[in-house]
Symmetry: C2
Subunit: 287 residues, 2 copies
């Protein structure tokens, strides 16, 4: 497992080795069909230490082309992305997003925007009110659009040997983010993404996940499988061991769930998202 | 462009050809760096006509492994997926999801679930209340988790030569979906995904998107670029022409935005998402 978890090259590992690293168990008896795309996706690890080397020309445009090739609800394309290169601006955004150093370290910080403003402008140009924009479902569709786009871009960046990490802490202070980035009404930063070459001196390991029996259900949801105490306990142990072997603070999954969800103060401002969204011009309506 | 849009093999096209198909303009002067992953992502088209051929063994497990390899907010893994193979159940779900025939046609229908129930059970097993679960931001994080997972799976399926299409209409009747799939409280279907081999007799073309100048901003959001009337008009023309050449009903982008957002009835039930989510046990709170 340690060979896989520090492998510098995403495409050298087999699906079986990647399965073993992700789940800590041998792969299923049925062979996993190989694909360079699946291998690259399975190799993902969030990188939090970057080299200052800039991205090669053309990589950002290619990644945004993959992002725009992602599905989008009803082709509404209700998202945007702001590419922040400027070091001073990255430093200001880092302060707003949990003081995370890698935002200043990596040469590129992308801010993914759930964006209903462009649609509102389309209506305005035609002299039409668009009440659909005021529905919670439409906001949710724009969040999903932005997320599909972001994940395609992340996969593309990683295929070029770059590292990425999502930054949910852009939602700690959505209004301040909107001001800094000049967002119009009905646009909100839903996730950030630092992009750069991983610092080879500090490789990141693959993070273990819950077994498939916990998340993949056949025909109907099986609560007993989803919540099996022995399975959760085994995962707690495995995650704890993996974190220790990767030099991270010892902590199991149950403890991190309780820490994150047991006190709204752990959300660092995100608990006020309804208020923030309203102040940014969103209506999350239709009871 | 027509060569690209009916290409049966995702990996044969160059990045340049795929750019041309997606944007209708020559690629940037800076060469786009090639990558099999980026090419596969750029080749995406939503498939709505399927062959009945079942998926090869191991493909679903591999795709779910890529889904679980996606980033997840604070490693909470707040998502699940239900794999529906049974034809009768697929037919019932198709009725609930806008009567879309491809759901019955494709051999596999995946239902992606924003799932806070597993976390609630973790708290219950430890005798702990988890007030963080009651925050809108946490629901949104679970929607994003499920979406990141789904998109990795879609990319993996497509890399095996399978076709996919997302089905947002699972949100037309979320309560009925939950009943049919036996979902626990605090779990909701946020998107469906039909998976199967594309019907070669009815190939699907690449759908044009807005130019990058509309969605990609540098340093700060540029409303003039996002809403440039000439750019939107040109895209309207291009989308219209592409739809006609692909045998789809003639319609431009502006018209489809107005049709979808101009009347909440066009949401087919999704306008009642707040009520549905509450009835499924979600609290979207913290003002």
């Amino acid at each position: 497992m340690s060979d896989v978890s520090v492998s510098p090259s995403p495409v050298l590992s087999s699906m079986n080795a990647l399965w073993q690293a992700r789940y800590g168990t041998p792969p299923p008896a049925t062979p996993l069909p190989e694909s360079p795309v699946a291998r690259s996706l399975m190799t993902h690890r969030s990188v939090r230490r970057f080299s200052p080397t800039p991205l090669p020309d053309g990589v950002l445009e290619a990644a945004v082309a993959t992002a725009q090739s992602a599905p989008t609800s009803c082709n509404l394309q209700a998202w945007s992305v702001v590419a922040v290169h400027d070091a001073a601006r990255r430093a200001r955004l880092a302060k707003l997003a949990g003081d995370q150093e890698f935002i200043t370290q990596a040469p590129l910080f992308l801010v993914w925007i759930a964006d209903l403003s462009r649609l509102e402008q389309v209506g305005r140009a035609q002299g039409r009110e668009l009440p659909g924009l005021d529905c919670l479902d439409t906001f949710m569709a724009s969040v999903m659009d932005a997320t599909l786009a972001a994940q395609n871009a992340a996969a593309a960046f990683e295929s070029y040997g770059l590292g990425t990490v999502y930054v949910g802490a852009v939602r700690n202070h959505p209004e301040a983010f909107a001001t800094e980035l000049g967002l119009p009404p009905r646009a909100v930063a839903i996730s950030g993404m630092s992009v750069g070459y991983p610092d080879r001196k500090h490789p990141t390991g693959i993070r273990p996940r819950l077994p498939q029996s916990t998340v993949l259900h056949t025909e109907r949801y099986d609560p007993a499988a989803a919540n099996d105490p022995a399975t959760i306990a085994a995962y707690d142990q495995r995650l704890h061991a993996a974190r220790v072997s990767q030099g991270l603070p010892a902590r199991d999954w149950t403890a991190s769930v309780l820490a994150r969800m047991g006190d709204v103060a752990a959300l660092h401002g995100r608990e006020h998202l309804p208020r923030s969204l309203r102040s940014l011009g969103f209506v999350l309506g239709q009871e």
